[in-house]
Amino acid sequence: MIEETDEIIAVAIQQGDTDAFGILISRYEEKLKRYARRFLAREEDVSDLVQDVFIKAYEHIQSFDTTQRFSPWIYRIAHNSFVNELRRKDRWGMVFDADTILPALPGTERTDALTLNTEQQRVVEQALTSLPAKYREVVVLHYFENLSYQEISDILHVPVNTVGVRLSRARQSLETLLIDHIS
């Protein structure tokens, strides 16, 4: 049986199929919880936050353009909710981001070069919590949620180049942290 795409399911929800929304919750609950845990760098309240994301998604489902991909749309809602949460706890602190002003050259590193085993992944995740939220988020979306630069640009509403710059800086910081960890 061919699995229906998220976008086809979204059309069904828009037409009033409540059960179809259950399918999307099943597909995205773990992904969004993982994104929340890593982005917010904590375990508590994650279920409540993700539940709020789904409530907003349902309320605003009629604004979803079914010709676009569903995943960046729901991650955008999640991003806004999590940023609000960080702001509420005064852990965001980003009023103006200089990375977004000028164009920048993309990094030369290949994404698929970063394949980690479980132990390495645990160490990387530990190091991730030391990164500023704006760098941690792009790492999570790109490496853990497998989203493209353009999809991340659409989620964060920042230039595509800025995504590349943040990833490159995050990698450099992680490298330094991991070298410190090993030594």
Partner: protein, 165 residues
Amino acid sequence: MNTIKENLIKKIQAGEITMVPRWQFVLRATLGVLGVLIVAVLAVYFLSFVLFTLNQSGLLFAPMFGWSGVMLFVMASPWFIILLTGLFLVVLYILVSQYAFSYRQPLVYSLVGVVLVVVAVASLIHQSNMHERMRGFMERHEVPGMSPLYRGSLDERPEGVVAGR
């Protein structure tokens, strides 16, 4: 059983969580586009009016006459309308930056793009003598808010500046 899923489906079926109707999003999007268009038209109108006023008063060419010309330009330019144009440009940029074609580009590209488009259209309008015709109309009819603006543009010529031979 998945608690979030179970919880939400129950709330949806009980009518505690409802969808915002599509027409509200369509209305919001339409108002957004309308807002961009209105602010763009105002920015273009005021910028072309600044060019018209500077041209009428001869101030547009004043900086070509050395330091004193530059000083005259600075002293006699219609700064209120120039600042108003700047304000509309900033608002226009903020409105446009909500759209993917803008936020996907570096801020400087979008900003320069907005300014270039407004300057280009304002220059075309300036070339078309639209303000000249509007001034003629304002002289014949009293339009609240507009007629004083055009009368003001006639009186802008600073002392000692003579246009023509």
